[in-house]
Protein backbone atom coordinates (compact mmCIF):
# COMPACT_ATOMS: atom_id res chain seq x y z
CA UNK A 1 0.00 0.00 0.00
CA UNK A 2 1.38 3.37 -0.96
CA UNK A 3 0.07 6.89 -0.88
CA UNK A 4 -1.34 6.84 -4.39
CA UNK A 5 -3.44 3.83 -3.48
CA UNK A 6 -4.46 5.38 -0.17
CA UNK A 7 -5.58 8.50 -1.99
CA UNK A 8 -7.58 6.46 -4.46
CA UNK A 9 -9.20 4.64 -1.55
CA UNK A 10 -10.48 7.87 -0.03
CA UNK A 11 -12.54 8.40 -3.18
CA UNK A 12 -14.59 5.25 -2.75
CA UNK A 13 -18.22 5.91 -1.89
CA UNK A 14 -18.41 2.53 -0.22
CA UNK A 15 -15.21 2.12 1.75
CA UNK A 16 -12.84 -0.57 0.48
CA UNK A 17 -13.44 -3.86 2.22
CA UNK A 18 -16.96 -2.90 3.18
CA UNK A 19 -20.02 -4.40 1.52
CA UNK A 20 -22.60 -2.24 -0.21
CA UNK A 21 -26.08 -3.70 0.10
CA UNK A 22 -27.24 -6.40 2.48
CA UNK A 23 -28.30 -9.68 0.79
CA UNK A 24 -31.01 -10.06 3.44
CA UNK A 25 -32.41 -6.59 2.79
CA UNK A 26 -35.71 -5.92 1.03
CA UNK A 27 -33.94 -4.63 -2.10
CA UNK A 28 -31.80 -7.74 -2.48
CA UNK A 29 -34.71 -10.10 -1.92
CA UNK A 30 -36.98 -8.28 -4.34
CA UNK A 31 -34.34 -8.31 -7.05
CA UNK A 32 -33.57 -11.99 -6.57
CA UNK A 33 -37.26 -12.89 -6.83
CA UNK A 34 -37.66 -10.72 -9.90
CA UNK A 35 -34.69 -12.22 -11.69
CA UNK A 36 -35.29 -15.87 -10.89
CA UNK A 37 -38.97 -15.67 -11.79
CA UNK A 38 -37.81 -16.50 -15.29
CA UNK A 39 -36.11 -19.54 -16.61
CA UNK A 40 -32.47 -18.86 -17.30
CA UNK A 41 -31.81 -18.37 -20.97
CA UNK A 42 -29.40 -21.14 -21.64
CA UNK A 43 -31.01 -24.46 -22.43
CA UNK A 44 -34.35 -22.76 -22.91
CA UNK A 45 -35.78 -21.13 -25.96
CA UNK A 46 -34.87 -17.60 -25.07
CA UNK A 47 -35.39 -16.36 -28.60
CA UNK A 48 -39.04 -17.15 -28.41
CA UNK A 49 -39.42 -14.27 -26.03
CA UNK A 50 -39.73 -10.87 -27.59
CA UNK A 51 -37.17 -8.27 -26.68
CA UNK A 52 -36.78 -6.77 -24.17
CA UNK A 53 -35.71 -9.96 -22.53
CA UNK A 54 -37.41 -9.20 -19.26
CA UNK A 55 -40.80 -8.37 -20.65
CA UNK A 56 -43.16 -9.83 -18.12
CA UNK A 57 -45.74 -10.63 -20.76
CA UNK A 58 -44.27 -13.86 -21.86
CA UNK A 59 -42.42 -16.66 -20.25
CA UNK A 60 -41.44 -19.86 -21.85
CA UNK A 61 -40.10 -22.96 -20.33
CA UNK A 62 -38.89 -26.20 -21.65
CA UNK A 63 -39.01 -28.87 -19.04
CA UNK A 64 -38.12 -32.49 -19.20
CA UNK A 65 -40.97 -34.86 -18.65
CA UNK A 66 -41.31 -38.57 -19.03
CA UNK A 67 -44.54 -40.15 -20.18
CA UNK A 68 -46.96 -40.62 -17.31
CA UNK A 69 -49.46 -43.38 -16.62
CA UNK A 70 -53.02 -42.08 -16.84
CA UNK A 71 -55.20 -42.66 -13.79
CA UNK A 72 -58.70 -41.30 -13.17
CA UNK A 73 -59.30 -37.85 -11.69
CA UNK A 74 -59.96 -37.68 -7.97
CA UNK A 75 -60.63 -35.03 -5.38
CA UNK A 76 -58.31 -35.85 -2.51
CA UNK A 77 -58.68 -35.05 1.21
CA UNK A 78 -56.81 -31.77 1.06
CA UNK A 79 -59.19 -30.26 -1.48
CA UNK A 80 -56.67 -30.62 -4.26
CA UNK A 81 -58.15 -31.52 -7.59
CA UNK A 82 -55.92 -33.99 -9.24
CA UNK A 83 -55.76 -36.16 -12.26
CA UNK A 84 -52.88 -38.02 -13.75
CA UNK A 85 -52.24 -34.93 -15.79
CA UNK A 86 -52.37 -32.10 -13.31
CA UNK A 87 -53.07 -30.87 -9.80
CA UNK A 88 -54.46 -27.48 -8.90
CA UNK A 89 -54.42 -26.29 -5.28
CA UNK A 90 -55.90 -23.04 -4.03
CA UNK A 91 -54.70 -21.46 -0.82
CA UNK A 92 -56.81 -19.22 1.41
CA UNK A 93 -54.77 -16.19 0.31
CA UNK A 94 -55.84 -16.59 -3.31
CA UNK A 95 -52.63 -18.22 -4.50
CA UNK A 96 -53.15 -21.14 -6.83
CA UNK A 97 -50.47 -23.75 -7.39
CA UNK A 98 -50.63 -25.62 -10.65
CA UNK A 99 -48.67 -28.76 -11.27
CA UNK A 100 -48.73 -30.42 -14.60
CA UNK A 101 -47.09 -33.80 -14.91
CA UNK A 102 -48.59 -35.01 -18.12
CA UNK A 103 -49.92 -33.10 -21.03
CA UNK A 104 -52.99 -34.83 -22.31
CA UNK A 105 -55.93 -33.36 -20.40
CA UNK A 106 -55.77 -29.71 -21.42
CA UNK A 107 -59.57 -29.31 -21.36
CA UNK A 108 -59.90 -30.63 -17.80
CA UNK A 109 -57.09 -28.40 -16.56
CA UNK A 110 -58.57 -25.39 -18.31
CA UNK A 111 -62.01 -25.79 -16.73
CA UNK A 112 -60.59 -26.52 -13.27
CA UNK A 113 -58.48 -23.38 -13.43
CA UNK A 114 -61.57 -21.35 -14.29
CA UNK A 115 -63.39 -22.87 -11.29
CA UNK A 116 -60.61 -21.70 -9.03
CA UNK A 117 -60.51 -18.16 -10.32
CA UNK A 118 -57.75 -18.40 -12.89
CA UNK A 119 -59.01 -17.06 -16.23
CA UNK A 120 -56.94 -19.40 -18.35
CA UNK A 121 -57.13 -21.10 -21.70
CA UNK A 122 -55.01 -24.21 -22.02
CA UNK A 123 -54.31 -25.59 -25.45
CA UNK A 124 -52.54 -28.76 -26.30
CA UNK A 125 -50.53 -28.24 -29.43
CA UNK A 126 -48.91 -31.20 -31.16
CA UNK A 127 -45.25 -31.02 -31.97
CA UNK A 128 -44.68 -29.44 -35.35
CA UNK A 129 -47.72 -27.18 -35.00
CA UNK A 130 -48.42 -23.88 -33.36
CA UNK A 131 -51.49 -21.72 -32.75
CA UNK A 132 -51.93 -19.16 -35.49
CA UNK A 133 -50.59 -15.82 -34.32
CA UNK A 134 -51.67 -13.32 -33.25
CA UNK A 135 -54.44 -14.73 -31.08
CA UNK A 136 -54.82 -11.56 -29.06
CA UNK A 137 -52.89 -8.53 -27.93
CA UNK A 138 -50.30 -9.40 -25.30
CA UNK A 139 -50.46 -7.63 -21.95
CA UNK A 140 -47.24 -5.67 -21.47
CA UNK A 141 -47.67 -4.43 -17.91
CA UNK A 142 -48.29 -7.75 -16.21
CA UNK A 143 -49.11 -7.16 -12.52
CA UNK A 144 -46.03 -7.87 -10.47
CA UNK A 145 -46.29 -11.17 -8.64
CA UNK A 146 -49.20 -12.42 -10.75
CA UNK A 147 -47.31 -15.53 -11.64
CA UNK A 148 -43.93 -17.09 -11.77
CA UNK A 149 -42.86 -18.87 -14.91
CA UNK A 150 -43.13 -22.66 -14.89
CA UNK A 151 -40.47 -24.28 -12.77
CA UNK A 152 -39.40 -27.82 -12.22
CA UNK A 153 -41.08 -29.67 -9.39
CA UNK A 154 -38.53 -30.43 -6.68
CA UNK A 155 -37.97 -34.16 -6.41
CA UNK A 156 -40.05 -34.93 -9.49
CA UNK A 157 -38.27 -35.49 -12.75
CA UNK A 158 -41.14 -34.62 -15.04
CA UNK A 159 -43.63 -31.82 -15.50
CA UNK A 160 -43.61 -28.34 -14.06
CA UNK A 161 -45.32 -26.22 -11.49
CA UNK A 162 -46.22 -22.61 -11.32
CA UNK A 163 -47.67 -20.22 -8.82
CA UNK A 164 -50.45 -17.84 -9.74
CA UNK A 165 -51.86 -15.15 -7.48
CA UNK A 166 -55.52 -15.01 -8.51
CA UNK A 167 -56.12 -11.80 -6.57
CA UNK A 168 -53.96 -9.93 -9.05
CA UNK A 169 -55.96 -10.77 -12.17
CA UNK A 170 -57.60 -7.79 -13.81
CA UNK A 171 -60.84 -8.05 -15.73
CA UNK A 172 -60.51 -8.51 -19.46
CA UNK A 173 -57.24 -10.43 -19.34
CA UNK A 174 -56.73 -14.12 -19.91
CA UNK A 175 -53.85 -16.42 -19.29
CA UNK A 176 -53.09 -18.37 -22.45
CA UNK A 177 -51.09 -21.55 -22.04
CA UNK A 178 -49.97 -23.75 -24.83
CA UNK A 179 -48.40 -27.06 -24.02
CA UNK A 180 -46.52 -29.09 -26.57
CA UNK A 181 -45.39 -32.56 -25.56
CA UNK A 182 -42.10 -33.29 -27.27
CA UNK A 183 -41.24 -36.59 -28.86
CA UNK A 184 -37.98 -36.65 -26.94
CA UNK A 185 -39.94 -36.96 -23.68
CA UNK A 186 -40.10 -33.32 -22.56
CA UNK A 187 -42.59 -30.61 -23.12
CA UNK A 188 -42.59 -27.01 -24.16
CA UNK A 189 -44.98 -24.71 -22.38
CA UNK A 190 -45.70 -21.08 -22.99
CA UNK A 191 -47.68 -18.95 -20.57
CA UNK A 192 -48.74 -15.59 -21.93
CA UNK A 193 -51.13 -13.05 -20.48
CA UNK A 194 -53.34 -11.70 -23.26
CA UNK A 195 -56.12 -9.17 -23.56
CA UNK A 196 -59.61 -10.41 -24.32
CA UNK A 197 -60.89 -11.49 -26.74
CA UNK A 198 -58.49 -14.35 -27.36
CA UNK A 199 -58.97 -16.21 -30.63
CA UNK A 200 -59.29 -19.98 -30.40
CA UNK A 201 -56.14 -21.89 -31.22
CA UNK A 202 -56.08 -22.54 -34.93
CA UNK A 203 -53.35 -25.05 -35.58
CA UNK A 204 -50.91 -24.10 -38.29
CA UNK A 205 -47.52 -25.57 -39.14
CA UNK A 206 -44.86 -24.48 -36.67
CA UNK A 207 -42.56 -22.06 -38.48
CA UNK A 208 -40.74 -20.83 -35.38
CA UNK A 209 -37.62 -22.75 -36.31
CA UNK A 210 -37.52 -21.08 -39.72
CA UNK A 211 -38.13 -17.69 -38.14
CA UNK A 212 -35.29 -18.24 -35.71
CA UNK A 213 -32.98 -19.21 -38.53
CA UNK A 214 -34.00 -16.07 -40.43
CA UNK A 215 -33.59 -13.89 -37.36
CA UNK A 216 -30.10 -15.23 -36.77
CA UNK A 217 -29.20 -14.70 -40.40
CA UNK A 218 -29.85 -10.99 -39.99
CA UNK A 219 -27.01 -10.60 -37.47
CA UNK A 220 -23.39 -10.57 -38.42
CA UNK A 221 -21.76 -13.97 -38.85
CA UNK A 222 -19.23 -14.74 -36.14
CA UNK A 223 -17.28 -17.16 -38.30
CA UNK A 224 -16.90 -14.87 -41.32
CA UNK A 225 -14.01 -12.59 -42.08
CA UNK A 226 -13.23 -10.30 -39.17
CA UNK A 227 -15.75 -12.15 -36.96
CA UNK A 228 -15.07 -13.18 -33.37
CA UNK A 229 -14.80 -16.82 -34.46
CA UNK A 230 -12.96 -16.16 -37.71
CA UNK A 231 -11.18 -19.25 -38.96
CA UNK A 232 -13.29 -21.59 -36.85
CA UNK A 233 -16.16 -23.21 -38.77
CA UNK A 234 -18.55 -23.77 -35.86
CA UNK A 235 -21.48 -25.01 -37.92
CA UNK A 236 -22.12 -28.70 -37.48
CA UNK A 237 -19.81 -29.03 -34.47
CA UNK A 238 -21.05 -30.24 -31.08
CA UNK A 239 -21.99 -27.37 -28.79
CA UNK A 240 -19.54 -28.42 -26.08
CA UNK A 241 -16.66 -28.33 -28.52
CA UNK A 242 -17.63 -24.86 -29.77
CA UNK A 243 -17.97 -23.56 -26.22
CA UNK A 244 -14.42 -24.68 -25.48
CA UNK A 245 -13.25 -22.63 -28.44
CA UNK A 246 -15.31 -19.67 -27.18
CA UNK A 247 -13.68 -20.01 -23.77
CA UNK A 248 -10.27 -20.24 -25.37
CA UNK A 249 -10.94 -16.97 -27.16
CA UNK A 250 -12.41 -15.38 -24.04
CA UNK A 251 -15.84 -14.88 -25.61
CA UNK A 252 -19.20 -14.75 -23.88
CA UNK A 253 -22.04 -16.68 -25.38
CA UNK A 254 -25.61 -17.79 -25.10
CA UNK A 255 -27.40 -20.34 -27.15
CA UNK A 256 -30.88 -20.95 -28.41
CA UNK A 257 -32.21 -24.41 -29.12
CA UNK A 258 -34.20 -24.84 -32.31
CA UNK A 259 -37.57 -26.42 -31.64
CA UNK A 260 -38.54 -29.68 -33.25
CA UNK A 261 -35.28 -31.56 -33.15
CA UNK A 262 -34.80 -35.05 -31.85
CA UNK A 263 -32.06 -36.53 -29.77
CA UNK A 264 -29.86 -35.69 -26.85
CA UNK A 265 -26.86 -33.94 -28.32
CA UNK A 266 -26.70 -30.29 -29.20
CA UNK A 267 -25.06 -29.32 -32.45
CA UNK A 268 -24.32 -25.78 -33.60
CA UNK A 269 -26.32 -24.59 -36.59
CA UNK A 270 -25.23 -20.96 -36.72
CA UNK A 271 -22.98 -18.54 -34.83
CA UNK A 272 -23.67 -14.83 -34.87
CA UNK A 273 -22.46 -11.81 -32.99
CA UNK A 274 -24.69 -9.12 -31.57
CA UNK A 275 -23.08 -5.95 -30.32
CA UNK A 276 -26.09 -5.20 -28.14
CA UNK A 277 -24.83 -7.92 -25.81
CA UNK A 278 -21.30 -6.59 -25.78
CA UNK A 279 -18.32 -6.65 -28.07
CA UNK A 280 -17.24 -10.14 -27.11
CA UNK A 281 -20.57 -11.91 -27.33
CA UNK A 282 -21.52 -14.76 -29.62
CA UNK A 283 -25.02 -16.15 -30.00
CA UNK A 284 -25.30 -19.73 -31.08
CA UNK A 285 -28.25 -21.40 -32.69
CA UNK A 286 -28.22 -25.09 -31.91
CA UNK A 287 -30.36 -28.11 -32.67
CA UNK A 288 -30.71 -31.45 -31.01
CA UNK A 289 -29.21 -34.37 -32.86
CA UNK A 290 -29.27 -38.10 -32.23
Amino acid sequence: MDELETMTQTLARVKPGEPGGDPDGAGARALLAEITAYQPAERTTRRWRPRPRFALGLALAVTAAAAAVVVPSVLDDSGTYTSASWAVTKQADGVVWVRVTDFKDATGLSSRLKDLGVPAIVDLVPEGSQCKEPRAQHVEDVPKGLYHAPQNIPGVDRGWQMRVNTKLFRPGETFVWTITPLSGGGSSTSTILMKDPVAPCELVPDDRAEKLIEEFARSRSATGKGGLLEGYPAEGKPLEEVRKELDRRGLDSAFTVLPGGRGENLVVVDARQDSREGDRFVELLVKTAP
Binding site: R13, R29, A41, N152
Partner: protein, 179 residues
Amino acid sequence: MTEERPARFEAVYRQTYGQITAYAVRRCAVPQDAADVVAETFAIAWRKVDSLPDGEQALLWLYGVARKVLANHHRTDNRRRARTVELDAELTDLYAAAPESGIEVEAVARVFATLPDDDREVLALVAWEGLDREEVAAVLGLTRNAVRVRLHRARKRFARALAEAGVRTDRLVSTEGTL
Protein backbone atom coordinates in the same frame (compact mmCIF):
# COMPACT_ATOMS: atom_id res chain seq x y z
CA MET B 1 -29.06 -30.01 -13.48
CA THR B 2 -32.01 -27.74 -13.88
CA GLU B 3 -33.29 -28.14 -10.31
CA GLU B 4 -29.99 -27.03 -8.86
CA ARG B 5 -29.81 -23.80 -10.77
CA PRO B 6 -31.96 -21.55 -8.57
CA ALA B 7 -30.22 -22.79 -5.41
CA ARG B 8 -26.80 -22.40 -6.94
CA PHE B 9 -27.60 -18.95 -8.27
CA GLU B 10 -29.03 -17.83 -4.94
CA ALA B 11 -25.90 -18.99 -3.13
CA VAL B 12 -23.66 -16.96 -5.45
CA TYR B 13 -26.06 -14.02 -5.30
CA ARG B 14 -26.03 -13.90 -1.51
CA GLN B 15 -22.30 -14.36 -1.36
CA THR B 16 -21.52 -11.57 -3.85
CA TYR B 17 -24.42 -9.13 -3.46
CA GLY B 18 -22.57 -6.86 -1.01
CA GLN B 19 -19.52 -6.61 -3.23
CA ILE B 20 -21.38 -6.13 -6.50
CA THR B 21 -23.57 -3.39 -5.03
CA ALA B 22 -20.44 -1.73 -3.60
CA TYR B 23 -18.77 -1.98 -7.02
CA ALA B 24 -21.73 -0.27 -8.72
CA VAL B 25 -22.21 2.38 -6.05
CA ARG B 26 -18.53 3.32 -6.17
CA ARG B 27 -18.75 3.91 -9.92
CA CYS B 28 -22.15 5.43 -10.56
CA ALA B 29 -23.01 9.04 -9.87
CA VAL B 30 -26.60 8.34 -8.88
CA PRO B 31 -28.29 5.41 -7.09
CA GLN B 32 -30.67 4.68 -9.98
CA ASP B 33 -27.74 3.98 -12.27
CA ALA B 34 -26.12 1.78 -9.65
CA ALA B 35 -29.39 -0.13 -9.22
CA ASP B 36 -29.55 -0.65 -12.99
CA VAL B 37 -26.02 -1.99 -13.07
CA VAL B 38 -26.64 -4.35 -10.14
CA ALA B 39 -29.93 -5.59 -11.60
CA GLU B 40 -28.56 -6.07 -15.10
CA THR B 41 -25.41 -7.78 -13.84
CA PHE B 42 -27.30 -10.36 -11.83
CA ALA B 43 -29.90 -10.78 -14.59
CA ILE B 44 -27.10 -11.65 -17.01
CA ALA B 45 -25.61 -14.01 -14.44
CA TRP B 46 -28.96 -15.78 -14.21
CA ARG B 47 -29.24 -16.00 -17.98
CA LYS B 48 -25.78 -17.51 -18.09
CA VAL B 49 -26.07 -19.47 -14.86
CA ASP B 50 -24.59 -22.54 -16.54
CA SER B 51 -21.33 -20.70 -17.17
CA LEU B 52 -21.22 -19.00 -13.78
CA PRO B 53 -18.03 -20.21 -12.07
CA ASP B 54 -17.94 -21.45 -8.48
CA GLY B 55 -16.35 -20.01 -5.38
CA GLU B 56 -14.07 -16.99 -5.49
CA GLN B 57 -14.04 -17.01 -9.28
CA ALA B 58 -17.76 -16.16 -9.30
CA LEU B 59 -17.07 -12.72 -7.84
CA LEU B 60 -14.37 -11.94 -10.40
CA TRP B 61 -16.64 -13.16 -13.18
CA LEU B 62 -19.43 -10.89 -11.91
CA TYR B 63 -17.08 -7.91 -11.66
CA GLY B 64 -16.24 -8.55 -15.32
CA VAL B 65 -19.94 -8.61 -16.24
CA ALA B 66 -20.64 -5.49 -14.15
CA ARG B 67 -17.82 -3.68 -15.90
CA LYS B 68 -19.34 -4.42 -19.31
CA VAL B 69 -22.80 -3.48 -18.12
CA LEU B 70 -21.43 -0.19 -16.85
CA ALA B 71 -19.66 0.46 -20.15
CA ASN B 72 -22.82 -0.31 -22.10
CA HIS B 73 -25.10 1.50 -19.74
CA HIS B 74 -25.75 4.44 -21.99
CA ARG B 75 -26.35 2.28 -24.99
CA THR B 76 -28.94 0.13 -23.24
CA ASP B 77 -30.93 2.81 -21.48
CA ASN B 78 -34.11 1.84 -23.23
CA ARG B 79 -34.01 -1.68 -21.90
CA ARG B 80 -36.41 -2.60 -19.22
CA ARG B 81 -34.56 -3.83 -16.21
CA ALA B 82 -35.43 -6.01 -13.30
CA ARG B 83 -34.63 -3.11 -11.01
CA THR B 84 -37.11 -2.60 -8.21
CA VAL B 85 -38.25 0.24 -6.00
CA GLU B 86 -36.82 -1.53 -2.97
CA LEU B 87 -33.41 -1.82 -4.60
CA ASP B 88 -33.39 1.87 -5.56
CA ALA B 89 -34.21 2.82 -1.97
CA GLU B 90 -31.54 0.58 -0.52
CA LEU B 91 -28.81 1.93 -2.77
CA THR B 92 -29.92 5.51 -2.17
CA ASP B 93 -29.06 4.95 1.49
CA LEU B 94 -25.51 4.11 0.50
CA TYR B 95 -25.22 7.46 -1.26
CA ALA B 96 -26.32 9.27 1.87
CA ALA B 97 -23.08 8.29 3.59
CA ALA B 98 -20.73 10.66 1.79
CA PRO B 99 -17.16 9.61 1.15
CA GLU B 100 -14.41 11.45 2.94
CA SER B 101 -14.33 15.12 2.18
CA GLY B 102 -11.81 17.86 2.42
CA ILE B 103 -10.06 20.12 -0.01
CA GLU B 104 -7.40 17.61 -0.86
CA VAL B 105 -9.81 14.73 -1.37
CA GLU B 106 -11.92 16.85 -3.66
CA ALA B 107 -8.87 17.79 -5.70
CA VAL B 108 -7.84 14.15 -5.96
CA ALA B 109 -11.38 13.22 -7.02
CA ARG B 110 -11.33 15.84 -9.76
CA VAL B 111 -8.02 14.58 -11.07
CA PHE B 112 -9.16 10.96 -10.87
CA ALA B 113 -12.25 11.81 -12.94
CA THR B 114 -10.06 13.17 -15.75
CA LEU B 115 -8.15 9.91 -16.18
CA PRO B 116 -9.00 7.61 -19.10
CA ASP B 117 -11.65 5.00 -18.24
CA ASP B 118 -9.19 2.12 -18.47
CA ASP B 119 -6.81 3.82 -16.05
CA ARG B 120 -9.54 4.51 -13.53
CA GLU B 121 -10.84 0.98 -13.68
CA VAL B 122 -7.50 -0.70 -13.09
CA LEU B 123 -6.65 1.70 -10.25
CA ALA B 124 -10.08 1.25 -8.70
CA LEU B 125 -10.09 -2.55 -8.89
CA VAL B 126 -6.87 -2.51 -6.88
CA ALA B 127 -7.69 0.27 -4.41
CA TRP B 128 -11.45 -0.15 -3.99
CA GLU B 129 -12.10 -3.84 -4.57
CA GLY B 130 -8.71 -4.81 -3.15
CA LEU B 131 -7.88 -7.17 -6.00
CA ASP B 132 -4.38 -8.42 -6.71
CA ARG B 133 -2.85 -8.40 -10.20
CA GLU B 134 -4.03 -11.88 -11.04
CA GLU B 135 -7.58 -11.10 -9.99
CA VAL B 136 -7.59 -7.85 -11.97
CA ALA B 137 -6.41 -9.87 -14.97
CA ALA B 138 -9.36 -12.26 -14.55
CA VAL B 139 -11.85 -9.39 -14.35
CA LEU B 140 -10.47 -7.50 -17.33
CA GLY B 141 -9.75 -10.55 -19.44
CA LEU B 142 -6.07 -9.66 -19.74
CA THR B 143 -2.84 -11.43 -18.95
CA ARG B 144 -1.17 -10.66 -15.64
CA ASN B 145 1.65 -9.00 -17.48
CA ALA B 146 -0.72 -6.74 -19.40
CA VAL B 147 -2.31 -5.74 -16.10
CA ARG B 148 1.09 -4.95 -14.59
CA VAL B 149 1.94 -2.69 -17.53
CA ARG B 150 -1.48 -1.06 -17.56
CA LEU B 151 -1.39 -0.42 -13.82
CA HIS B 152 2.09 1.02 -14.02
CA ARG B 153 1.06 3.45 -16.75
CA ALA B 154 -2.17 4.39 -15.00
CA ARG B 155 -0.33 5.18 -11.77
CA LYS B 156 2.21 7.22 -13.67
CA ARG B 157 -0.48 9.26 -15.39
CA PHE B 158 -2.41 9.67 -12.15
CA ALA B 159 0.69 10.89 -10.29
CA ARG B 160 1.55 13.28 -13.08
CA ALA B 161 -1.99 14.69 -13.23
CA LEU B 162 -2.01 15.13 -9.45
CA ALA B 163 1.27 17.02 -9.63
CA GLU B 164 -0.11 19.25 -12.36
CA ALA B 165 -3.19 19.95 -10.25
CA GLY B 166 -1.00 21.05 -7.38
CA VAL B 167 -1.83 18.15 -5.08
CA ARG B 168 1.25 17.60 -2.94
CA THR B 169 3.10 14.97 -4.82
CA ASP B 170 6.54 14.76 -3.24
CA ARG B 171 6.00 11.28 -2.01
CA LEU B 172 3.75 10.29 -4.88
CA VAL B 173 6.40 10.90 -7.48
CA SER B 174 8.90 8.82 -5.59
CA THR B 175 6.52 5.84 -5.48
CA GLU B 176 6.52 5.85 -9.23
CA GLY B 177 10.09 4.68 -9.29
CA THR B 178 9.42 1.74 -7.01
CA LEU B 179 6.93 0.07 -9.33
